[in-house]
């Protein structure tokens, strides 16, 4: 009897596991930005290290993360880092007010249909993804924890910037 119960329970668990959408993680190719139909202009990212940050105006840690990303953009932008902030706000007014208030020095786009964020299936808000020069995800940060996250990001960005661009 026990083996029968175990086999049926295992089948149900498999069903559960396969039905859950997969999250984009280290080693995966990041979904195409162009397919999302953003509001806003995408920067040139080919062959560069990209920090993609998913944020929302209603998310307090997102607000705290912007000054840190501005510092990273200032320090590493000239060396090949692109910071791209992707808003998942459904209200364009809320998004615009947030951007006006913080005036980030890096590009901001809005995923108005929440397509990219769904494809990536972010674990929490905010979440950031560091992409290598080949466009693959190298590091994922679920949440923003102030200095700790910034310190980790700096180490990872330094590592990725040292890597050479892939052959075309």
């Amino acid at each position: 009897m026990l083996s029968r119960v175990k086999s049926i329970a295992a089948a149900a668990l498999c069903l559960l596991a396969t039905s859950a959408a997969a999250q984009v993680g280290p080693g995966d190719v990041f979904p195409r930005f162009e397919a999302a139909g953003f509001e806003g202009i995408l920067p040139a990212m080919a062959g560069r290290v990209v920090l993609v940050d998913f944020w929302a105006s209603w998310c307090a840690p997102c607000q705290a993360s912007f000054p840190a990303y501005a510092r990273l953009n200032g320090d590493y932008g000239p060396r090949g880092l692109v910071v791209l902030a992707v808003s998942v706000d459904q209200s364009s007014d809320a998004c615009a007010a947030f951007v006006r208030k913080l005036s980030p020095p890096f590009p901001v786009v809005r995923d108005l249909r929440q397509k990219l964020v769904s494809d990536v299936n972010v674990p929490t808000m905010p979440s950031s993804y560091l992409l290598g020069r080949d466009g693959r995800v190298r590091f994922v940060h679920a949440g923003f924890y102030g200095e700790r996250t910034e310190r980790e990001l700096r180490q990872e960005i330094e590592l990725l910037l040292r890597e050479s661009a892939p052959d075309k």
Partner: protein, 81 residues
């Protein structure tokens, strides 16, 4: 040769487990994704958004339910006030 009877209890338990676990995978169950929580983060969703209202509600609750301990009040109460 001995004929084996199907173990009805085992089958019933198995089906119950499959139903419970399979139900979690059903698309009928809606999961609010992290990026969909704008409405949940609204101040209106905060039960303690009005400190004065909360303290009045607490007062009434403790007065009425004091005999059962009220809210964070130990011991019996007269239920007066």
């Amino acid at each position: 040769m001995k004929a084996t009877r199907p173990n009805l209890l085992g089958i019933a338990l198995g089906l119950a487990a499959a139903g419970l676990l399979g139900g979690c995978a059903s698309t009928a169950m809606i999961r609010v994704h992290p990026w969909e929580r704008a409405a949940l983060s609204d101040e209106a969703m905060n039960p303690d958004r009005d400190p004065l209202g909360s303290s009045l509600a607490d007062h009434v609750h403790v007065s009425r339910e004091g005999s059962s301990g009220g809210r964070s009040v130990g011991g019996a109460g007269c239920g007066c006030n």
